[in-house]
Symmetry: C2
Subunit: 416 residues, 2 copies
Amino acid sequence: MVRHSATLAIDETLRARKAAGQRVLHLGFGEAGLPVPDEVAAALRDAAGRNGYGPVAGSPEARRAAAGWFTRRGLPTSAGQVVFGPGSKPLLYALLAALPGDVVLPAPAWVSYAAQSALVGKRVIGVPVPPEAGGVPDPERLARVLREERPGVLVLTVPDNPTGTVARAEHVRAVCELAERHGLAVLADEIYGELVHDGTPPPVSPAAWLPARTVVTGGLSKSLALGGWRIGFARVPAGPWGEELLAGVTGVASEIWSSAAAPTQAAAAYVLDDPPAVLAHVAAARRLHAAVVRAAHAAFTEAGALCRPPEAGFYLYPDLAPLRAGLAARGVDGSAALAAALLDEHGVGVLPGEAFGDEPGALRFRVATSLLYGETEAERWRALRADDPLALPWIADALDRLRAALAALTAPPARP
Amino acid sequence: MVRHSATLAIDETLRARKAAGQRVLHLGFGEAGLPVPDEVAAALRDAAGRNGYGPVAGSPEARRAAAGWFTRRGLPTSAGQVVFGPGSKPLLYALLAALPGDVVLPAPAWVSYAAQSALVGKRVIGVPVPPEAGGVPDPERLARVLREERPGVLVLTVPDNPTGTVARAEHVRAVCELAERHGLAVLADEIYGELVHDGTPPPVSPAAWLPARTVVTGGLSKSLALGGWRIGFARVPAGPWGEELLAGVTGVASEIWSSAAAPTQAAAAYVLDDPPAVLAHVAAARRLHAAVVRAAHAAFTEAGALCRPPEAGFYLYPDLAPLRAGLAARGVDGSAALAAALLDEHGVGVLPGEAFGDEPGALRFRVATSLLYGETEAERWRALRADDPLALPWIADALDRLRAALAALTAPPARP
């Protein structure tokens, strides 16, 4: 049986605990945690009359808007290269179903790549990421793997989930050159592409290095916090290889989900035209994400964790290896036990590194800080507009609770 | 490669021909062809602020509303037995993925069951439907098949697509008894359940005969013409078998599409509470579908076709067997050639029976009459509100064109 996606499962678990009156710090789920801008809500409302199925690949207006969006970001694109779906997750599934061969994933990598690969009968080859940043396999290790293995697909996540970092351009180039030499297709998941904290320069897309064989996926779930609207898109390369792949993807789509919901496609067409209100909203979101995730990073490093500084989005991937002896004394000897201890003893929900394909014995886990912005829409708007979001009482309190939990977790055990 | 779903493919083909200025009669696609009721559009608009992912199985309010909806229709249901998805098609896919064993389909059956079965690695065993009505295999033939084969799943479509008929209760009961005896799970696709022309009594759900092992799927695409909103739901049996199946379905869902779009779930919660405005709209739609599909049925039988009288929805499944000799003289010797001749020589788009798993040599095809209600929203509202929709000029003209095409198709060949 296919198990419930670990990220969605912990979200439901933690919400249920909250609803039952338990005090939990929800750091388990990558929901962007922000309200819908008025202009974007209006675009959805205006499209409430759109009830036809429409083309499987998406409405002409949404595909044109996405093509312009990619083009303005340095990847010249025509509407015919774009396909929409109800999230980028189903598009990744269809791409994995349509592309031949086994899959190379960075380790750690987002939870669903491996699960989707298993669903479509692909074997997963995990290759550790370099120390600098996650989202791409370490090029030297990948080169060694490709001497032995003949996979068909390389998945890259730029910027990365779970590490919240942006792969270095030289690593992206190196793995793309390996992909080219070994005939791999590259799936570049760029759903966090709008959320690089310093904004410029944008990360270099793998599609710039391997234009003929790179498929880029994205969506509105992270930049606009529209996860619940289920809007994703993918860009295939121009030319026959991309056309055949797109036909394969829409074939799968036509037999599973038909199309993204028409009103949400209309809203996507509005958003992807980059109107000033949207750009300003995303910029404000980026500042908020950066402020809160950096504060959480400081809390982890102060507690003795190793952790790459966050560069994009709202994730951290701390490593408590320096604290291994003390944790082992309490029976915490791997990421699952560590996540369980954080939740059961300290009310902090995180996802163990194991769920991301990392070594089960490592003391690593993913922290998402995006559900700390407030419990109500009013609080979230205030967080988004605050000059110093860390001064807002509910955010300050959450960070205090995180520090207290880490202090308790890492304190020397009390003498009996 | 997975080919584009035949129904969605012909829709895109015919719309492209129309856009290019060609005069085509679009009888190829099962889109319900009606506008969104104001109250339902308002329910979507009111939910534009809902942007969280929410539970994979659906929002508590939508699941509660669906449970009430099933309960009022004779199947007592709790919210925990319901799962929502972006259409009933993805739920059928997840159900086929989660249920063990090969699949028995009625022949003919809706195009995507077989394609989905292939995607999840299931073999399809087609069993012809009885003469009275489609959607269930002929019980005697099914009994013979089950002496040789050990499938795991039986799909029933009540009311039926492609035949537009409602399986007789005694046939539903007989195949459910066979399913019970042979340990099959039944997937009862009841998406046309609200569109039985005479309204009462409703068709007997297979879940009434085999409550412990029948999963019912439905959605808003047909009754409310909300195909483009992508709202489907499924009801699993109460008890451990249903619970485990629901966990398997949400497992697949969590790794492919996450959830149905949150604003559309809110609209579904409104619709499934059966408010008077919705019931009145569906009743008007039912009358319109019945009037137009019955007129088309008369046109086919007058032209010499065999055709079961329509009982639900907006489909016909004519058989031109009595005209085989004349058609053969023109090189038309099967359903694909027949559909091609209708489109290329007469501008009438239908789907060949072959696409539904019927014998390729049979002269059968599916006719959908639901795109004849108008080209504009204003025309569709007038059709919905008309006492005599057949008197509206665009509907009368479409039926005239159909009669003319059939006359030309079936006329004796001109002497050379």
